[in-house]
């Protein structure tokens, strides 16, 4: 596990407070920057097949930090997903 991903997971263990959400956004940027530096992806997008959610069902990785910082429902969804990582 990369140190950037580990740091992101650590933050996501915290409840969705404004401070934690801001920190998660920062950590995701760091993680995405490290992955992009490996040159493996072109336009990664996190998608799901939900409907009527309080978070987007398709979100470009570039936009994930903003969503993490501003949307508690998306933060909590990422908590659920990363909890399995």
């Amino acid at each position: 596990m990369s140190k950037e991903f580990e740091a992101l997971k650590d933050v996501l263990r915290q409840p969705a407070t404004p401070e934690a959400m801001k920190e998660a956004a920062h950590r995701f940027r760091e993680y995405d920057r490290a992955e992009a530096a490996l040159g493996k992806r072109s336009r990664p997008t996190l998608v799901s097949l939900g409907l009527g959610k309080a978070y987007p069902t398709q979100i470009d990785f570039r936009d994930i930090p903003r969503e993490l910082e501003t949307n508690p429902a998306f933060y909590e969804q990422m908590q659920k997903i990363m909890g399995e990582g």
Binding site: F5, Y31, Q58, K80, I81
Partner: protein
């Protein structure tokens, strides 16, 4: 019956893999893109299997442009059918309702079905190497069903492959999504339910690109 909407990135990604690897093995009706409509879906009762990609909620499953196709309050004749819904959360209410209505078995998900895709592959989603670790286990599950094997065996193929792909995924978010999906996959009804085996047909070349995605 196949229901394969194409109206946004997640439906294009999931439907694209089925178009490449499952459609050649199935006969009509194949409701692809704009054909994936309530009027057609509700009136086509024949066949022993329903395979649907689409957005979902606990009690509802949607088709192209999110037309409501299945609702717990209005279940079509599904007696004896094997049903796979590549969708979010339908295992919570819709799956049990389908089984109560006489479906042989049902495979779906209790939580959101999440994965990472490459948006640059929206016109040829079957070539998306980031979506493949999530979608090929679903494809192989469905093809196991179409081989005439028990639904329980097909379900095991899907969850085992998801976890195996997670173990070797280079991208940790891809791996997290795979483990999340495997944990929330659900098989309901009779695990021994099966359908008539279809011939194994694969096309050596991929289909032509899908029409452009209008974001």
């Amino acid at each position: 019956m196949l229901a394969l909407p194409l109206h946004d990135l997640p439906t294009r990604s999931a439907s694209g893999f089925l178009i490449r690897y499952v459609v050649p093995r199935t006969g009509p009706p194949q409701l692809v893109g704009p054909l994936d409509r309530k009027a057609l879906f509700s009136n086509l009762a024949f066949g022993d299997v329903i395979i649907g990609v689409g957005h979902g909620e606990p009690g509802r499953f949607y088709g192209d442009r999110n037309q409501l196709l299945l609702d717990v309050s209005l279940i079509p004749d599904v007696r004896g059918k094997v049903i796979v819904l590549v969708s979010c959360q339908t295992a919570r209410q819709l799956g049990p309702a389908l089984i109560n209505a006489g479906a042989g078995s049902y495979i779906g998900f209790l939580e959101d079905l999440v994965w990472v895709m490459d948006a640059d592959k929206a016109s040829n989603p079957w070539a998306d190497k980031f979506a493949a670790p999530a979608m090929m286990p679903v494809v192989n599950c469905i093809n196991t069903i179409l081989d005439g094997k028990a639904t329980g065996d097909a379900f095991a193929v899907m969850t085992t492959e998801m976890l195996a792909n997670a173990a070797v995924a280079e991208d940790e978010i891809v791996a997290s999504c795979l483990r999340f999906n495997a944990k929330n996959a659900s098989l309901q009804g009779n695990p021994m339910a099966r359908v008539n085996a279809r011939p194994k047909v694969t096309f050596p070349i991929p289909p032509p690109p899908l029409f452009p995605h209008m974001a």
